[in-house]
């Protein structure tokens, strides 16, 4: 864990666009240290762009992103990112992919030691047995586990996830959701998570807070606290009236935004 930044995240007056298009405008967010925020929105709401701005992969036109009191100027290993499309390096063995993360978190350790530690991280995501395989030999779900292992290996105070389970089948998706929450809760201190999704149920299952984004330009239209105690179970959530009420409110917020956009068009 890099000690300089605390795990609180703030986004202030953020604006981003290219050409004549404004993708995001007037984004303000404050994410508490160790909490789990879901960014929920339809396609075109700029939620992935917002995540890339937080990651430092894009630079805002106006406004800023702060981790603790430090302004984000570019990508950094204190903000680990998991992308949607299993972005492992296909020419490296799974263990070596993870070892790249280990070596960045612990500079100066030997290649062999990095590999040993990488296997530990793979163990945590249930991939010890395929450590020496190449990504193309793994299913999508397994590749995404490996990507999570690599992000964990960075031991970052922030974990940014861009629709990480969007390309998985429902069974694998549910498994990885459980795995993620288990890993997140197991770490002390807990990393601050920003999780992009367009799946309302996923957001409510995982997050402490759901920021709902509207489209054209992307902005935060609603911000819901998710009150359910952890550990959460899908069955308990579906039996809970508050869950259905929240779901309803989020759907309404999204519909209202869509209708407003149609009316103005």
């Amino acid at each position: 864990m890099s000690g300089e930044t605390t795990g609180a995240l703030r986004v202030e007056g953020l604006r981003f666009g290219y050409g004549g298009t404004t993708v995001l405008d007037g984004i303000d967010l404050a994410v508490e240290e160790g909490s789990f925020l879901a960014l929920l929105g339809p396609s075109g709401s700029g939620k992935s762009t917002l995540l890339r701005l937080i990651a430092g992969l894009e630079q805002p036109g106006r406004g800023r992103v702060l981790t603790g009191d430090r302004q984000v100027a570019g990508p950094g290993i204190e903000r680990a990112v998991v992308f949607q499309n299993y972005a492992l390096f296909p020419w490296m063995r799974v263990v070596d992919n993870v070892a790249e993360g280990v070596r960045k978190a612990a500079p100066g350790i030997s290649r062999a030691e990095a590999r040993v530690r990488a296997v530990d991280y793979l163990e945590r995501v249930g991939l010890r047995d395929v450590a020496e395989r190449y990504p193309f030999e793994l299913s999508g779900g397994m590749q995404q586990r490996a990507a999570i292992a690599r992000a964990l290996a960075l031991e970052s105070p922030f974990l940014l996830m861009d629709e990480p389970f969007g390309a998985l089948d429902p069974v694998n998706r549910a498994r990885l959701q459980d795995l993620l929450i288990g890993l997140w809760q197991a770490r002390t201190p807990r990393p601050t998570v920003v999780f992009v999704t367009h799946d309302v149920d996923e957001a409510l299952l995982l997050a402490d807070r759901v920021a709902v984004l509207g489209a054209s330009p992307g902005r935060v239209i609603e911000d819901f606290a998710v009150p359910f105690e952890r550990p959460r179970s899908r069955a308990a959530l579906f039996a809970d009236d508050r869950f259905h009420a929240l779901r309803e409110s989020i759907a309404e917020a999204l519909d209202a935004d869509t209708l407003a956009r149609l009316a103005s068009a």
Binding site: V81, F83, P90, W91, Y134, F136, S139, N172
Partner: protein, 276 residues
Amino acid sequence: MISETSTLDAVSLPAQQRERAEAASVRPGRLAFAWEPWLLWGALVAAWQAIAGAIAGQGNPLLPPPAVVLDALWQSLPELFTGTWSSLLILMPGFALAVVAGVALGLVTGTSPRLGRAFFPFAKVAAPVPPTVYIPYAIAVLPTFHLSATFVVFVGAFWPVFQNTVAGAHAVEGRHRDNAAVLGFSRFEYLRKVVFPASLPHIFSGMGVGLGFGFILLTVAELFGANAGLGRFVQYYADFADYPRMVAGILYTGVVTWAAMTALERVRARALFWLR
């Protein structure tokens, strides 16, 4: 619970991908016998025999029949082997140097916009110059024929390798770039661990073209001033109108070129196992 899910995961691995994984572990080259190519070979030799028979008159035939060429080939083998060695001593250093320089320069200029802006306009002018035009000058200026021929092979192989490496560096997928950035790779790490492997498919196509050019330039250069070598062999017996040996030399050069291309293809398949 975690290990349990992983076994399940392995079981649910799509059949297609598992096959792929298994196919990758099986050694290549064990394909079913294909008879179609042999049919064409047979037809070509038969046609050769027929035409050679039809135009055969007294004296020196312009197209010697297969048996005569085969005999000439057999008798010339020692000379051809020496020639091959002499040619490879020009080709290999020139080609190797071209690959090293082309890849290194291609990776660096392909990932640095400033260096790219400086270098690409020059490359645009210099690359299309047919390298054969350098041959007389190289022979005149450089101290030995070996050195000038190596230089010309280098120039001919360099540009395709360089241009393809640049194309490969430009084609690095955004997700690999993002990952390198997130992992905080230094510029050198980025080049070595990401851009270079990601560009390998392009680099190998460049090497294929470069090796072909290398052979062309090698044999052309040997026509000018060599005292051994494959191109020299053909030129020498052409001067004596010894067509059987000449045709044998052409066929032999074809086989050597084919062998070199096949070797490169093998290396390519090995290096790019992770592709698809």
